[in-house]
């Protein structure tokens, strides 16, 4: 297999000045006092894409994935390292880039195609196909400024895919246009794959990537975290994303604490209460635990699955055990334990059950104890699933304790099914 795209130890640095010097006057005034700091958008990235492969660049905003795509497309040059691309390259970085509003659709097709590297003769041969794909037969001689944004995008996509590239770069463009057009784009990309073309796609939508990519490179803050099979790469992506969220949370908390301390110091220094006046109210203490007086408390929650020593995530269909430890300070009757599982992506409830509904008898509780929810299988696909646990009376008049989405588990899907539920499925094809 030949290598279609070879990214060889590529780094990209952006110089960020305190202010960009844009005029001669400023340059003279500031002379050498301009302070730059370097920002490495990409650091030592290296991977190869084989011919006919579709690879994804996955990362959160600011991870450098779009910069990398621009480097592959030749729109920017790397600071270090080099990239080799074999064959004709077309990019769908922005559809209809370079359309001139005053020119007609027809004129713009020729213009745009020549920017993408087609000769006039090439375009003439493909013109009808382009117009048909864009579904703009009636409007092709209209000035582009009268086009709707959808028409604009359709024409741009039609030109780009008809450039007949060996290597196609795609940057989130599949998120534009209406649904039917998106399907058309996807179809076209699948057709490219069948034709054995190489595709590099950038997205932060893991599910789309899983659907179309053979391999995925995960980028985080300009570094390549991993490059490999989609399932594993997406799991790692989720982990880094989660880690980042945790770090950010910690940072925010630390800063809030600092600010509070500073504010407190300042208010002490300036607002000495004048004699005779009532002293300022004490700062509110930590949020009061609404259940701190409850006679029945949850003391521990443990999530167990068979392979938890090897990995933190579940595979689709693996069992999960939720152990809830509790303690009753006094005898409590009429108790219901409940469990609910949510999908983190949209917060939707995907499963809920309680002892009452299941017909499980809960005796009068006194002292410590444990409730075990044994899920024989978790038929879920990729994602992080928060769990809510509650203890309440049968009529829900009294909530003894409630842990709203404080615990979670995640599932990683190693294969190429998409969606939320891992239906057990067998497919038979007979002829």
């Amino acid at each position: 297999m030949a290598v279609a795209v070879e990214v060889d130890n590529v780094s990209k640095r952006f110089r960020i000045g305190d202010q960009k010097i844009r005029s001669l006057k400023e340059r003279f005034i500031t002379l050498r006092r301009q302070h730059f700091h370097d920002f490495w958008a990409l650091r030592d990235i290296g991977f190869e894409v084989e011919e006919g492969e579709t690879i994804g660049l996955l990362g959160h905003n600011g991870s450098g994935k779009s910069t990398l795509l621009k480097l592959i497309g030749g729109i920017m040059q790397p600071t270090m390292g080099q990239i080799r691309v074999r064959g004709r390259l077309a990019s769908l970085l922005e559809l209809g880039a370079g359309f001139h509003p005053d020119l007609t659709g027809r004129e713009n097709v020729f213009m745009n195609a020549s920017i993408l590297g087609l000769t006039r003769r090439d375009v003439e041969a493909r013109f009808d196909e382009i117009v048909e794909f864009a579904e703009l037969e009636e409007f092709i001689d209209l000035q582009v400024k009268h086009y709707s944004s959808g028409m604009y995008v359709r024409l741009g996509f039609a030109v780009a895919v008809n450039v007949d590239p060996d290597v196609l770069l795609v940057d989130e463009v599949l998120a534009v246009g209406d649904e039917t057009f998106q399907h058309k784009c996807l179809d076209r990309i699948h057709q490219f794959q069948r034709d054995g073309r190489t595709i590099v796609v950038v997205s932060h939508a893991p599910d789309l990537m899983r659907q179309i990519c053979n391999r995925i490179a995960v980028l985080d803050h300009g570094h390549m975290v991993t490059y490999g099979a989609p399932g594993e790469a997406i799991r790692i992506f989720r982990d880094t994303l989660f880690m980042n969220a945790m770090e950010r949370q910690q940072w925010l908390e630390a800063r809030a604490a600092e600010e509070a301390a500073a504010a407190a110091a300042a208010s002490k220094a300036h607002d000495e209460p004048a004699p005779g006046e009532p002293a300022p109210e004490p700062a509110p203490a930590e949020p009061v635990d609404p259940y701190h007086l409850s006679p029945l408390r949850i003391t521990s929650v443990d999530l167990d699955h068979p392979n938890q020593d090897a990995r933190t995530h579940l595979l689709p269909g693996e069992p999960l055990t939720v152990r809830v430890g509790f303690e009753a300070k006094e005898p409590v009757a009429d108790v219901v334990f409940g469990l609910a599982i949510y999908d983190q992506r949209d917060g939707k409830l995907i499963y809920g059950a309680n002892t009452d509904g299941l017909g499980v008898d809960v005796p009068v509780l006194d002292g410590p104890g444990e409730v075990v929810f044994e899920l024989e299988a978790v038929p879920l696909l990729d994602g992080t699933y928060p769990i809510t646990l509650g203890v309440h009376s049968k009529d829900e008049g009294t909530r003894y304790d409630w842990r709203e989405q404080q615990h979670w588990f995640s599932v990683m899907n190693p294969d190429r099914r998409i969606g939320v539920v891992a239906f057990p499925l067998r497919v038979k094809v007979s002829t």
Partner: protein, 317 residues
Amino acid sequence: MATTTPAPAATVGAGGTPRAADGGATVVAPHRSVREHLRLIWQYRELLHGLVRKELKVRYKGSTLGFVWSMLNPALSLAVYYLVFAVFLKSAIPYFAIFLLSGMLAWNLFTASIPAATASVVGNAPLIKKVYFPREVLPLATIGAALVHFFLQSLVMAGALVILRYDVSWEYLWLVVPAVITLLLFTAALGIFLSAVNVYLRDTQHLIEILLMMWFWVTPILYHYTLVSDRLAAHGLAWLPRLNPMTNIVLALQRGIWGRAYGDPDPVTGVAPQLLPDASVWWYLGNLGIVAGVSAVLILVAIKVFDRLEGNFAEEI
């Protein structure tokens, strides 16, 4: 590795499109050689052609007079200069209109190209940010558009010469061709250089307007060459005006079209004043050759500078 096996996919597309010499691989590296730049520009000549067409189409879209506008402006300034210099100031130059137009042809091409070329990269920011193509094509396209106007003006000039039954000096007339080629080389070098610099120093495009105005007056277009060179010769500086590349180009055009070196003889003394250097066609051609050679080197330098600066175009614009 990419270089060892020929890419079967490289034969898929119809020809004439980005295909590198290096075994079909396009290399994106921090810098490219000047040779590679030139090769890419040549490869994208269709785009250059398309951009020139677009430039002209867009400029005259929806205007009734269309191309007439491109003639009106130089025609009007020509009329004003003629009125002031030939009628009011009684210039010693016979057939002043033709003398003037000979120089103005070159100057109009230059002054229409340079400011537009300077602004071309910044002005096409959306394109630069999204699509790859050799960026030098942008300043070159503005020169191409100016060249189209130049040809239209030349037609008017030729028409005027025929109608006036002007006595053209055939011996010198062919200087027009090398003069225009030299002018294009020099304009291209300057245009490519300025378009890149303007991305980082946006004042360039304003500064250049002022410089062009000054440049116009130090170039012997409204006055004859000897007016200045004779005075400088007294100080041993006769060579000084010819350091201006535009002077050499304008001189060749004036000698080629206007066709004389001397004015009309003085009615009293019978001596004809010398207006242009009374030199052979080879002297003019030699000067053009020097300017063309220097311009060719400048183009290479400009591309080198362009290469250094273009790495961050997409970011800086």
